[in-house]
């Protein structure tokens, strides 16, 4: 009980974060791609293709943050002050892009500022999420169970790199989403941008994969000690293979609508698995583990019982809404 409850919760929150990254990733990606077309009609189609989903997608962010508080209050109480500025910056960026979904349409024809807010908000939010990720991987200074570092500890060359990599990755999710879900110029934009973004994301993943084991002994040992290495070597290999296939599919876009998007999701999941392997069981590396920071077992059980019923329901009606708004969005059509 005492041992496996925190592990279950780490799995649940890990799943919520992964779903958030994939789901909000593609709609943040739409915002990241906004500056690469100037046409209002294309931007309308791009925004319409994610408008019914973004709100539900962003709810996974609330579950990630709220769930961390529920299940690991001590980790929440250290990570949030440590990431104070990037988290508040990310939230403010999300405000700008969230309201743009409504404001942009009401403001028309004077919606230029909301185009900027949507693109800027999406890009900044994605970048800061990557920065938070990078800063977390590098570790947080904990003194007496509280955050013991300064206001800018999160700002390092490594965290800026992970920030840029996440922007490229979300952009790729957005571009492949456009290939899958739109026709005409918006789809063409996705095709044009996707290969470059794929290369950028792969470069980011590659540098992170080399940088972390070289700079952190714990991570090097996790990957390269025996027998771990025997089990882990397929991960980079599969990643490389999948990246190759996504590249191929992108070269023949006519025949592959959904495959690039699905392949990108696969790449994200592989990268995510790599990060989990590097950091588990630390929730606040390099000091606090799942077990150090877990809530009282009775609290974790009380929440777990509800989650076991509610989470399948949430997934069920989320799938229903995606099914309701299935199919391609064409220029000038939207959802009829």
């Amino acid at each position: 009980m005492e041992w496996y409850l925190p592990v279950i919760w780490a799995g649940l929150i890990g799943t919520a974060v992964a779903l958030y990254v994939l789901l909000d990733g593609f709609d943040l990606g739409i915002g990241i791609l906004f500056p690469f077309t100037k046409k209002e009609a294309d931007r309308d189609v791009m925004m319409n293709s994610v408008a019914p989903f973004w709100d539900g997608n962003e709810t996974w962010l609330v579950l990630g943050g709220g769930g961390l508080w529920v299940a690991f209050p001590k980790a929440y109480a250290v990570i949030m002050p440590a990431m104070y500025l990037p988290i508040i910056g990310m939230l403010l960026a999300l405000i700008f892009r969230g309201v743009s979904f409504e404001f942009r349409w009401v403001a028309k024809p004077n919606h230029r500022w909301w185009d900027i807010a949507f693109a800027g908000g999406s890009t900044v939010a994605a970048f800061l999420q990557g920065v938070i990720l990078g800063a977390l991987i590098q570790g947080i200074n904990v003194v007496d169970g509280q955050y013991g570092g300064g206001a800018f500890d999160w700002l390092t060359p490594f965290s800026i790199l992970t920030g840029l990599a996440v922007v490229a990755g979300y952009g790729l999710l957005g571009a492949t989403w456009l290939i899958m879900r739109t026709k005409g110029p918006a789809r063409a934009l996705g095709q044009r941008m996707a290969p470059q973004l794929l290369l950028l994301m792969l470069a980011g993943m590659g540098i992170v994969s080399l940088w972390t084991p070289l700079s952190v002994d714990r991570i090097a040992e996790r990957w390269f000690s025996l027998p771990n290495f025997y089990f882990l070597w397929p991960i980079p290999l599969v990643t490389a293979l999948l990246a190759f296939f996504v590249w191929r599919w992108l070269q023949h876009p006519k025949s592959h609508d959904a495959l690039p998007f699905m392949g990108t999701i696969g790449l994200f999941l592989l990268g995510y698995a790599g990060l989990v392997i590097s950091t588990a069981p630390y929730l606040v590396p390099p000091h606090l583990t799942f077990w150090d920071t877990a809530a009282a077992p009775e609290s974790q059980i009380f929440m777990l019982i509800g989650t076991l019923f509610l989470l399948p329901m949430v997934l069920g009606y989320t799938a229903f809404v995606y099914w309701t708004f299935r199919g391609k969005v064409a220029p000038g059509e939207g959802y009829h």
Binding site: G56, V62, W69, Y76, L91, I95, F101, W105, S299, H336
Partner: protein, 480 residues
């Protein structure tokens, strides 16, 4: 330069939560109103109800977006600014917030997609169901959030070990002593506030002679709602006050401006409380009325602020005035309901200019009352963060004051822009009126509710799409 991190963190949270509560309060009421309109449409087939539902859905969409984005901020602020509080109370109220996300947030955020974009895609019954689920979601959200807040006011069902709260009995935690009345008080406030907005919009149209039929429907529904819920709210509020007297007597003492237990019993109508002199200046009081209200007896006594040392008293003047603003608006709405019902009964509801003019200015009063009420309950809890267990000063994060100040300035700046614009756009949607959505849908039907407003805006500003930013739009129009 030295900043007081406690004060800054309090100001930041008060600022963000005050902005936030305006929108949920409105969307709790508005989603229920839209659902009622859709149900009426399903039952009667009257196009009027369809038109009104679409009109209010557009306004709902803008308000909901602002509620969501300002709400996400809060779920992180517990950690960024109040990490010691998060650690102290995480075992107990963390799960309440978790249940809020799972039972309410997903429900409303997901079915919102169908409610906003399903008009031409799903059958009417499913649209109505989606609206109902959104309405249920918003009310469920209030249930959990108010339960968590009430636990901070009247903690129960827990024990303290090693300076951290642990749960003992979840039913006692969720249904802690102040929760049922607080929930009833807040939900009624949300419905009342929305009714006041609907009333004002209807009155505005009637005065201008626009959308007369729809306006009359709005006015009738709003007057009926206010007539019933405003007196009900007074009753609930009174019960809530008695509950507070039992569990948080110093909050009531501050609300009443009651400094001394010995002289309690008179009801202070007006005064200017002075924290340092421990008395009210320019006091106007009714003898025995306080005893009647609070003890329901002629000469009952109840605790005054002198029962506790000065450092354990809430900021009296803030609580005192906020309470009077809330009650004053409550009484104003009761009078409005009575006057409206009388005019309706006499058949003059739509032809009485003074009433329509007065009603057209009523839209903000509910929001002001809600904010005032929250000022009473939150400041009245001071100096405690969790009443009797954790002082506010002991709940903050180890974050430098400069960071808190810097982000506070950013919050003020961003919220100022975003929310002022949002209110401006809502007003613009109201000016366009219900006709824009139902009767005069643009060719090919709008792909989303607000795109109708876009057409209307273009007409209103006299610009063809090509005059807007981006020359490329011209091509689109030509293409059509």
């Amino acid at each position: 330069m030295e900043f007081d991190p406690v004060l800054l963190a309090r100001i930041q949270f008060a600022f963000t939560v005050s902005f936030h509560i305006i929108f949920p309060a409105f969307t709790i009421g508005l989603s229920a109103y839209v659902t009622v309109l859709l149900l009426l449409w399903l039952r009667t087939g009257d196009e009027k109800f369809h038109r009104l539902a679409r009109f209010w859905t557009k306004i709902f969409a803008v308000s909901f977006a602002m509620g969501v984005v300002s709400g996400i901020v809060l779920s992180y602020q517990f950690g960024t600014n109040w990490s010691r509080f998060s650690e102290f109370s995480g075992n107990v109220i963390g799960p309440l917030i978790g249940y809020e996300v799972l039972t309410a947030f997903y429900l409303e955020a997901t079915f919102l997609g169908i409610m906003l974009f399903g008009w031409n895609r799903v059958p009417p019954w499913l649209l109505t169901l989606a609206s109902a689920l959104v309405a249920i979601g918003t009310a469920t959200s209030a249930f959990w959030i108010l339960s968590a807040n009430s636990w901070m006011q009247t903690p129960a069902g827990h024990e303290i070990r090693d300076g951290v709260a642990f749960p003992l009995d979840w039913l006692q935690i969720i249904f802690n002593p102040s929760f049922p009345l607080r929930l009833a008080h807040m939900l009624t406030a949300a419905y009342l506030t929305t009714a006041a907005v609907v009333l004002a919009v209807g009155a505005r149209y009637l005065l201008a002679g626009n959308y007369t039929e729809d306006a009359k429907t709005m006015l009738r529904m709003a007057v009926g709602m206010i007539f019933v819920t405003a007196p009900l709210q007074l009753f609930i509020g009174d019960m809530h006050g008695l509950n507070t007297l039992e569990h948080q007597p110093m909050k009531v003492a501050a609300m009443e401006g009651n400094w001394n237990t010995e002289t309690s019993g008179h009801f202070v109508l007006f005064g200017i409380p002075s924290q340092s002199e421990e008395k009210n200046h320019f006091e106007i009081a009714i003898p025995y009325a306080g005893s009647l209200v609070l003890t329901h007896s002629w000469d009952g006594k109840y605790p005054g602020l002198n029962e506790v040392p000065p450092e354990e008293r809430p900021p009296v003047a803030n609580v005192f005035f906020a309470f009077r603003i809330m009650v004053g608006i409550g009484l104003l709405l009761i009078a409005t309901g009575l006057a409206g019902a009388y005019l309706w009964w006499r058949g003059r509801l739509f032809q009485t200019p003074w009433f329509l003019t007065y009603a057209s200015y009523l839209w903000p009063v509910g929001f002001i009352a809600i904010l005032a009420g929250w000022f009473v309950t939150e400041q009245g809890r001071q100096p405690w963060l969790v009443y009797g267990l954790l002082k506010t000063a002991d709940g903050i994060s180890s974050v430098p004051g400069a960071s808190v100040l810097g982000t506070l300035i950013l919050f003020v700046f961003v919220y100022g822009i975003v929310f002022a614009t949002g209110v401006y756009y809502i007003n613009r949607l109201i000016v366009k009126g219900p006709q824009g959505a139902g009767a005069a849908a643009p060719a090919g039907l709008p792909n989303r509710p607000i795109s109708a407003a876009e057409e209307a805006a273009r007409e209103a500003t006299g610009k063809s799409p090509g005059d807007g930013p981006g020359k490329a739009v011209k091509n689109k129009t030509k293409g059509n």
